[in-house]
C-alpha cells in the first residue's frame, strides 16, 4: 500500500529566516510610500514658511518647479504616456503662463507672435518652461533661430537667400516651411512658429532622447 505523502503546513519555525537586509528594505518601502503620496497630493505647494514641499524634500529638486515629472521616468516612458493631445495641453499651460493669454485663445494653429503676442524675451521664457515641464534640454538656438539676420550669406535685402533657407530648414526640422518658401521675407520668420511647431518639437525631443 502506497502511503499518501503527508502535507505538513509551513510553520514559522520551518521558514527560512528573513535576513536583516530584507527587513531593512521592507521597512524603507513601507515608510517611503506614504511620503510619496503626500508629496504627490501636495502638488509641490510651498508651506507658509516657504520651505520646500514634501516632494522637494524627498527628491531634493530646486524650489519653484511648476511641474516636474517623476525624475526616474525615462523619456521613452514619457513619450508612450503622452499623446499629441496631452502634449498640446501641457504646451497650452506653458503659453498661458508665459504670455498671459487665455487658454481658449491657444489653438494648434495659433502663431506665437501674431496671434498670442509673443516677443523675443517670451521665447526664452517658453524654452525655460518647456524644459521644466517635459524634462528635456533645449540648447540655445535649437527651438528658435538666432543670429540669422546678421549674416549676409543668409539674409539679403530683408529676404532669406537659398543658403539661408537651407540652413534654417536644417536647424528647424520641426517647422513647416511650405508656405514660407514662396516669399521668404525675414520679418515673416516669426509666422513659422505656431503651437503645432512646439508640439512637433517636443515630440522630436522626447523621441530623440
Amino acid at each position: 500500500m502506497v502511503q499518501k505523502a503527508e502535507i505538513i503546513p509551513l510553520r514559522s519555525s520551518h521558514r527560512k529566516q528573513t535576513s536583516l537586509y530584507q527587513c531593512t528594505v521592507a521597512a524603507a518601502v513601507v515608510l517611503l510610500i506614504p511620503q510619496v503620496f503626500v508629496a504627490v497630493a501636495s502638488n509641490y505647494r510651498q508651506d507658509e514658511a516657504g520651505a520646500a514641499s514634501a516632494w522637494d524634500s524627498i527628491f531634493k529638486r530646486p524650489l519653484g518647479h511648476a511641474f516636474t515629472p517623476c525624475p526616474h521616468a525615462s523619456p521613452a516612458l514619457l513619450l508612450r504616456q503622452m499623446t499629441q493631445d496631452e502634449i498640446f495641453t501641457k504646451i497650452r499651460g506653458v503659453l498661458v503662463d508665459a504670455l498671459a493669454v487665455d487658454g481658449d485663445d491657444v489653438t494648434r494653429k495659433s502663431v506665437l507672435t501674431a496671434d498670442l503676442g509673443a516677443e523675443s524675451i517670451d521665447f526664452l521664457d517658453i524654452v525655460f518652461k518647456l524644459e521644466q515641464v517635459f524634462a528635456i534640454k533645449i540648447p540655445q538656438g535649437e527651438l528658435f533661430p538666432e543670429n540669422l539676420a546678421q549674416d549676409p550669406r543668409y539674409v539679403q535685402s530683408g529676404k532669406l537667400t537659398p543658403e539661408g533657407l537651407t540652413l534654417l530648414k536644417g536647424r528647424l526640422p520641426h517647422v513647416d516651411f511650405s508656405s514660407f518658401e514662396a516669399d521668404p521675407v525675414l520679418k515673416k520668420v516669426g509666422s513659422l512658429f505656431t503651437v503645432e511647431t512646439l508640439i512637433k518639437f517636443v515630440e522630436f525631443k522626447l523621441a530623440k532622447k
Partner: protein, 167 residues
C-alpha cells in the same frame, strides 16, 4: 550711490539664493510726494511698489550675475509676476529673498519673496511675490553686439558687494 534699492546683502548661496535688505527712511525724497497731503487727507508716506520691484530686480540680478562671476551683462527682461498685498512704509525694513528657478547661457528665471520687518519687534510679514526673467544680453537672439565692458555691474554694485562682504 545712485539708484541703489538694496542696502545690504545678508545671505548668498551661489547659484541658488540671495537675501538682501533695504531700510525705508522718511528722508527718502519720493516719500514726500507719495502721497502728498490734500485738502481732504493728510500726507501718507508709502514706498511705491515699482521701487520694491526694482529692489527685487537688483537682488535677483546680483544673484544671477554672481552665478557667472559677473562676466555676463545681466539685464532685467521680463516681469512674469508682481503681486503686492501690503504697503511698505518708512520706519520698516524690506527683506528680499531671491531664488534661481532656471539658469543657462541665455539668461535666468527667478522667483522672489518680499517681507516687511518691524525693527521694534523683529516680526516680519510677507507683502509680495515677484517672478522675473533676466537675459544675458551678450547672448541675445538677434546677435546684437554690446560694449565689451560690463556696464550693468557698476561701481555702486561693486561697493554694495564689498560692504556686504561678497567678493
Amino acid at each position: 550711490m545712485r539708484w541703489m534699492w538694496v542696502d545690504r546683502i545678508i545671505e548668498l548661496v551661489p547659484r541658488e539664493r540671495l537675501v538682501a535688505i533695504k531700510n525705508i527712511s522718511m528722508a527718502e525724497e519720493y516719500v514726500h510726494d507719495h502721497f502728498i497731503a490734500t485738502p481732504v487727507s493728510p500726507a501718507l508716506p508709502v514706498m511705491p511698489s515699482c521701487f520694491i520691484l526694482e529692489g527685487m530686480a537688483q537682488s535677483a540680478g546680483i544673484l544671477v550675475g554672481h552665478a557667472n562671476g559677473f562676466s555676463e551683462k545681466v539685464i532685467l527682461a521680463k516681469i512674469n509676476k508682481a503681486e503686492f498685498h501690503y504697503d511698505a512704509v518708512p520706519g520698516y525694513t524690506l527683506r528680499y529673498t531671491a531664488l534661481i528657478k532656471y539658469l543657462d547661457p541665455a539668461g535666468a528665471s527667478t522667483t522672489g519673496r518680499v517681507e516687511l520687518i518691524d525693527p521694534s519687534t523683529g516680526e516680519s510679514q510677507e507683502i509680495g511675490t515677484i517672478d522675473l526673467m533676466f537675459s544675458h544680453v551678450d547672448n541675445n537672439m538677434a546677435g546684437t553686439a554690446f560694449p565689451k565692458e560690463n556696464f550693468v555691474f557698476s561701481d555702486s554694485f561693486k561697493t554694495l558687494l564689498r560692504t556686504s562682504g561678497i567678493s
